[in-house]
């Protein structure tokens, strides 16, 4: 071993240096250096590379797989029209299985190996929450994370992160107001996912319904069972159930309610309000049981859904029709759902920003384009990405689902803030797909 002696000596020495260095507090972090945005990684003459992390496999995949499929279809459409400012959009989707530790790995891979220009629509609160510091530190624009967490709108700490989804509190406030106006005096029960979805939603609902609420039931997204919760909601006498749930649990809740003969008025948040997906699921479920006289979407009939995007059922909506056409041409598999719409709306809005950032593209010009953008759709509500407010969609509209697949607009878009401010009507005109510049 002697001949190795000199060579290996420096390693323990290094270890000692490290231990000495490690004597400063592990949690004492200095200020990060300012990031340089006058760069354009991933941008070539004819292409721009963007990336996202999505759950393509694992327990969360069934609900969210469609988001990146929808976005991919829009980018294919944009590229077929000639791209944006002469550049093709190269959309790289990495699977993180909804496991935050994998999100970190694939995000670094996207930033370092794929050299993405921007992160677009990274999906999930726990997953994206783990990379938001990294993206901001590295100067990667973090555009439109796909979740309604309040954390995305914090321009002090995360100046490069631009929220997109109507946050859970704003949405819940408008739900609360709608319920007090349209179902006055009725007892209300909450059913919510036991994470920030539930917490932030209750914060909004309670501003309007604290006297009416008779039950607060939660579920864990990894335990698909609502037996106890629905029994308790029925027990409490709740006539209106506000479901801040993902689609699988909306469907489960409806089946469980039908099982025990409980017929509340459902009010469903946008995250669970993909009625197209729900209807398809329930149709398969009731296959071969029509003899019992239960049409597939009888469960859904009359359900109130809040929304901010175009909806796939909405025959009168130009954007809805446009997205269905785009998906038929560029998508894969069955008809698009509202979860596809989610990704498609995001994709159009990103392409629009890219368009207005101009041919001379840098991360700074993208950020400038975001902060000065005048948003005119495809979403139904005003949208904020200005300096100091990266809140994304500002409110929701309300629809009622009718058995057979039609929806009826019962309240036009209203907006509010995430604090105690009022819910207000807005006058918001959208541009049509032909008039909105988002490709060449």
């Amino acid at each position: 071993m002697r001949e190795h002696g000199s060579r290996v000596l420096w390693a323990p020495a290094l270890a000692l240096v490290m231990l000495a260095a490690a004597c400063s507090g592990a949690g004492e972090v200095g200020q990060g250096a300012d990031v340089d945005l006058d760069v354009a990684p991933g941008v070539t003459d004819d292409a721009v590379v963007i990336g996202t992390h999505q759950p393509l496999t694992g327990p969360a995949a069934p609900g969210y797989l469609a988001v990146s499929q929808g976005a991919g279809a829009v980018f294919d459409h944009v590229n077929a029209e000639g791209g944006v400012n002469g550049r093709r959009i190269d959309y790289r989707v990495e699977d993180d299985g909804y496991d935050p530790s994998r999100t970190i790995d694939v995000t670094r891979q996207l930033v370092i190996e794929d050299e993405i220009f921007a992160m677009v629509g990274g999906l999930g609160t726990p997953t994206h929450g783990g990379v938001i510091d990294y993206l901001n530190d590295e100067g990667v624009p973090d555009v439109f994370p796909a979740s309604g967490a309040l954390a995305w709108n914090n321009t002090e700490e995360h100046p490069l992160t631009y929220g997109w989804q109507t946050d859970y509190t704003k949405e819940a406030k408008i739900q609360g107001e709608y319920i007090t106006e349209n179902f006055p005096g009725q007892d209300v029960g909450y059913l919510f996912q036991n994470d920030d979805v539930g917490e932030d939603s209750q914060a909004g609902l309670d501003q309007y319904l604290s006297d009416e609420v008779v039950a607060r039931e939660h579920y864990e997204s990894d335990i698909p069972d609502l037996g106890a919760q629905m029994a308790e909601l029925e027990n409490s006498g709740a006539e209106v159930v506000v479901c801040s749930c993902i689609p699988a649990f909306v469907a489960l809740g409806m089946l469980e309610a039908a099982r025990i003969g409980y017929e509340p008025q459902w009010v469903i948040s946008s995250i669970g309000g993909d009625t197209a997906t729900l209807q398809a699921l329930l149709t398969e479920f009731t296959e071969d049981t029509d003899a019992e006289g239960v049409p597939a979407d009888a469960f859904l009939d009359g359900a109130i859904v809040t929304s901010y995007m175009p909806r796939v059922e909405d025959e009168d909506d130009e954007w809805g029709r446009f997205f269905v056409e785009v998906y038929e041409e560029y998508g894969h598999g069955g008809p698009p759902t509202n979860t596809h719409m989610f990704g498609m709306t995001q994709a159009v809005m990103f392409a629009q920003v890219l368009k207005s950032a101009g041919r001379d593209l840098t991360r700074q010009s993208l950020v400038d384009a975001l902060e000065t953008q005048e948003w005119r759709g495809p979403g139904h509500t005003p949208f904020s990405s200005s300096e100091g407010d990266h809140g994304g969609h500002q409110g929701v509209y309300v629809v009622r689902y009718q058995s057979g697949g039609a929806i009826e607009m019962v309240q036009e878009a209203r907006v509010t803030d995430r604090e105690g401010g009022p819910v207000e009507e807005v006058d918001f005109e959208r541009l049509s797909p032909e008039d909105l510049p988002f490709h060449d």
Partner: protein, 334 residues
């Protein structure tokens, strides 16, 4: 040369090799090299438990989770504590957890132990949801830790620094595990593994030895989890699923259960097979559903094939190969 010294020298060599590797690669590799490091420490602890004492645990991820949350809580609530102290606290906490689990399961054997540890791995994340004020619920805890010290600015990046810190801890941990395994406790564990009754008759305290194995495995797993939290900066229940625990055990057998080299191959497999399979799937231009699911299937197929043809895992296969080459070499020279 006394065994501990030799292990420390080997550890130093290993660290030098990692430092060299980091020197020629970039930030992404640094992250993955760090991941190989802490995964290896976890697998090595499991190796001592399964290969050494014969107790098959499906709940190793639980110990990693305990270590990771301890690290996150320390950084959040005691930011002035140095990292070395944090790691020390993590070892202490893990030892307590190991004693508790080891004592509760010491009478169990075979599938009963497996079942009990499995439900431990699945049940423990429930605490993060239950005490979400403290532990952050499903969104977990996000921490920021200090990067490279100022005087190394420009020499190493933060990611490289973290990888070095991880590997310094890992090689020290591995040296300790190797020393334990070669010492009296290791011999006692193997005696218990081979035949509990005979071991008891030979004067080995069977129950205490089994608990000791759990304590050591827990300490290694906790340390690994703590290092993971340090590198990734985020700790969520969604990272410590049953899949993690099962993967650790499967990879251990895949790598080879009899040697620390097996733990290295195991951790490389855990970190890189997924990456390679993803690249493979992209290159092959398959259908969407096939492409998405290929990495999972790939890992399973590799696992089955390796065990089918090399029952002693990758390390066993390499040793065979080495022996054969040596035989062939001596054959031609004679």
């Amino acid at each position: 040369m006394p065994l501990p010294v030799r292990h420390l020298l080997l550890a130093a060599l290993g660290l030098a090799a990692v430092a060299g590797l980091l020197f020629v690669t970039g930030d992404l590799t640094a992250l993955r090299v760090a991941a190989v490091g802490y995964t290896m420490l976890a697998v090595a602890g499991l190796q001592l438990l399964v290969g050494g004492s014969g107790q098959v645990s499906l709940g190793h991820g639980a110990f990693m989770m305990i270590g990771a949350y301890t690290m996150a809580l320390l950084v959040l609530h005691q930011p002035s504590l140095p990292l070395a102290a944090n790691l020390g606290v993590i070892v202490a906490v893990s030892v307590v957890a190991g004693v508790a689990v080891g004592a509760a399961t010491a009478r169990l054997h075979g599938p009963y132990l497996a079942g009990a540890t499995l439900i431990l791995a699945v049940g423990l994340p429930g605490l993060a949801h239950r005490y979400h004020q403290l532990l952050g619920g499903s969104n977990g805890l996000n921490i920021r830790t200090a990067g490279a010290p100022p005087f190394l600015d420009g020499l190493v990046t933060t990611s490289e620094w973290r990888a070095l810190v991880v590997w310094t801890t890992v090689v020290l941990g591995l040296a300790a595990l190797a020393t334990i395994s070669a010492g009296r406790l290791g011999r006692r564990m193997r005696a218990v593994r081979d035949d509990e009754t005979a071991a008891a008759m030979a004067g080995v305290p069977v129950g205490a030895t089994k608990v000791a194995a759990f304590v050591i495995a827990s300490a290694a797993g906790g340390l690994a989890g703590g290092l993971q939290a340090y590198v990734l900066g985020t700790v969520t229940p969604g990272s410590f699923t049953l899949v993690l625990s099962l993967t650790l055990l499967a990879a251990l057998v895949l790598g080879g259960i009899g040697s620390l080299w097996g733990a290295l191959w195991a951790s490389i497999a855990i970190v890189y097979l997924d990456v390679w399979a993803t690249d493979l799937a992209r290159a092959a231009d398959l259908g969407r559903d096939v492409e998405n699911n290929l990495p999972v299937v790939f890992f399973g197929v590799v696992l089955i094939l390796v065990l089918r043809f090399w029952p002693l895992g990758v390390h066993g296969a390499l040793r065979d190969l080495g022996a054969r080459l040596r035989v062939a070499g001596s054959g031609t020279s004679s």
